[in-house]
């Protein structure tokens, strides 16, 4: 167990984080002094046009890359991540893919299988554990990836499991899915987020998706990425992507996003 104290007021904190790719004069500034925090149990959507460094930002929080400057803290919480593609291991069955999340946990094989089954059940894929990823549809694969991420966020190798506040990073996870599947997965994700008391940092370029899901929408500028504005979303849940309220706020945010894009138009 780590001795790190779990911060009860923030789940993720970025302080003046910058990221430069390359060196010297040729260096590309991808993120410019981004400061951002996610409260425990909060659902934050990061929104921006292409080149705003939203994926870079998630990679930094996930520890896949290091910031050039600034501080990132996840306060000893378990951090799980989902990508735009399912990123399942094709040589493993669906169940074994989810079980990979418990590798560090020292669980017996049987125990791992049972727990993986519970998470597959959570995304309504209980009967598909023995299938191979390629035998499932794109939406189903993405649900397996969600189950794996959830399994990982529940993993006991984190000191914070009793605090209930794992961090789930999602990098446009539903971007490649059709609208109907995406709608259903929004509902599922919302339910699971509440049940598991997750803190979510969700990257998307779809404004309505951001408003549908987020407690807060953070708008990033492009090249370099930095925080432009934050929009709290105070609409009652459950929301519908096609409701007038969601559409209204989405329109406001889209206008602001367009202003940002226009700055690059010359």
């Amino acid at each position: 167990m780590t001795t790190q104290v779990v911060d009860r007021t923030t789940a993720v904190r970025l302080e003046a984080v910058s990221k430069v790719y390359g060196h010297g004069g040729n260096g590309l500034l991808a993120l410019d002094k981004v400061s951002l925090s996610v409260r425990p149990g909060e659902f934050v959507c990061l929104l921006g046009a292409s080149g705003c460094g939203k994926s870079t930002l998630l990679s930094l929080v996930a520890g896949l890359d290091r910031p050039t400057q600034g501080e990132i803290s996840t306060a000893g919480r378990q951090v799980a991540m989902m990508f735009q593609e399912p990123a399942l291991f094709p040589w493993l069955t669906v169940s074994a893919n989810v079980e990979m999340a418990f590798r560090a946990d020292n669980l017996a094989k049987r125990e791992r299988r049972i727990r993986a089954g519970e998470f597959l059940e959570m995304v309504h894929l209980g009967g598909f554990g023995k299938k191979r990823p390629h035998e499932l549809s794109g939406g189903m694969r993405q649900r397996v990836a969600l189950a794996r991420a959830l399994a990982q966020s529940s993993s006991s190798s984190s000191s914070s499991s009793s605090e209930g506040g794992a961090v789930l990073l999602m990098d446009e996870p539903f971007g490649a899915l059709d609208a109907m599947t995406r709608d259903l997965l929004h509902d599922e994700l919302e339910r699971i987020w509440r049940e598991q008391a997750l803190s979510v940092l969700f990257v998307t370029h779809n404004v309505r998706e951001a408003v549908r899901l987020g407690d807060r929408v953070v708008l990033l500028s492009s090249r370099p990425g930095s925080v432009v504005e934050e929009f709290p979303v105070e609409l009652a849940r459950p929301r519908r992507t096609d409701s007038a309220e969601v559409a209204g706020l989405a329109a406001t945010i889209t206008d602001r996003l367009k202003e940002e894009v226009l700055r690059h138009g010359h």
Partner: protein, 284 residues
């Protein structure tokens, strides 16, 4: 209520997306693969008979298919033939197994350590292009006319391909899977064991297949050059048939060598397609 409805809607979508997919029966699939092969064999036999009939070479120099297969059928009843095949196959399997071990160790080391890659990467590819028969004089100098000389060259022939297969597989591990493994908490050796090695399996298998082809060629060259007394082998039978001007025997042995090569290649092919099916790599 909401959860239940969602579950049912999702199940409905899942069922729709997984519908379909039918496969033809085993018999018709086997026949679809078999008839082109049989036709090809028939064509070759006809061409062979025509060349013999043209009279360019006398029948005792270039035997026709009928004489050859009669002779081969005769030898199939002779225990010495099976001893020869057994000796050759034992050498092939031993040499290939050792080459696999060497290839695995070298490939794993070179793919992981940058300095080794810089030092030996080009050399391994170079060795792959070197005709293995060029090693024999040296091998005979080192080991004399022994089986060790043959094994040595078989390993040198096959190991570079096997190592290269593994190295390529490691290099082409999808970055996304590496990232997924990293997020799941795998580092260094664990990442290697759980992500990189399994991901490189298809390429490693391709390396094994190519390595086998090189091993088989090296072995035949070796058995022609290194003839060990009282140990009959396929290569040795070739050499003897030539000395005795036994045309049907010579061509028959060549056919046996060809058939063994094809059968083993088909085994690799089967392993490869089983892997592709499991991973879903087949084009739809």
């Amino acid at each position: 209520m909401a959860v239940d409805t969602h579950a049912r809607q999702l199940a409905g979508l899942d069922a729709l997306e997984l519908a379909g997919e039918q496969r033809a029966g085993v018999a018709s699939r086997a026949w679809a693969r078999l008839w082109p092969m049989l036709t090809a064999v028939a064509l070759v036999l006809v061409a062979w008979e025509l060349v013999v009939l043209s009279g360019r070479w006398p029948e005792y120099v270039f035997a026709g298919p009928i004489t050859t297969f009669q002779d081969l059928g005769h030898r199939l009843g002779d225990p010495e033939f099976y001893q020869a095949v057994a000796t050759t196959m034992r050498r092939a399997v031993t040499g290939f197994a050792l080459a696999m071990l060497v290839g695995l160790i070298v490939g794993a080391a070179v793919s992981r350590v940058k300095v080794l890659r810089a030092a030996f990467g080009a050399l391994i590819t170079g060795l792959q292009t070197m005709p293995s028969i060029a090693w024999f004089p040296f091998a005979i100098l080192l080991f004399g006319l022994t089986e060790s000389a043959i094994t040595f060259v078989v390993i040198l022939g096959a190991a570079p391909s096997i190592a290269n297969g593994l190295i390529t597989g490691v290099d082409y591990t999808p970055p996304l899977l590496l990232r997924a493994g990293h997020v799941l908490g795998f580092r260094r050796l664990q990442l290697y064991r759980h992500v990189i090695l399994p991901a490189s399996l298809p390429s490693f298998l391709a390396g094994l297949k190519q390595g086998w082809a090189f091993a088989w060629r090296s072995l035949m060259a070796g058995e022609l050059l290194v003839i060990i007394a009282y140990q009959s082998s396929l290569g040795e039978q070739l050499a003897i048939s030539r000395e005795l001007s036994d045309s049907p025997g010579l061509i028959g042995t060549m056919i046996v060598i060809l058939v063994i090569g094809i059968v083993i290649d088909m085994l690799f092919e089967a392993a490869d397609s089983a892997l592709r099916r499991r991973w879903g790599l087949n084009p739809v």
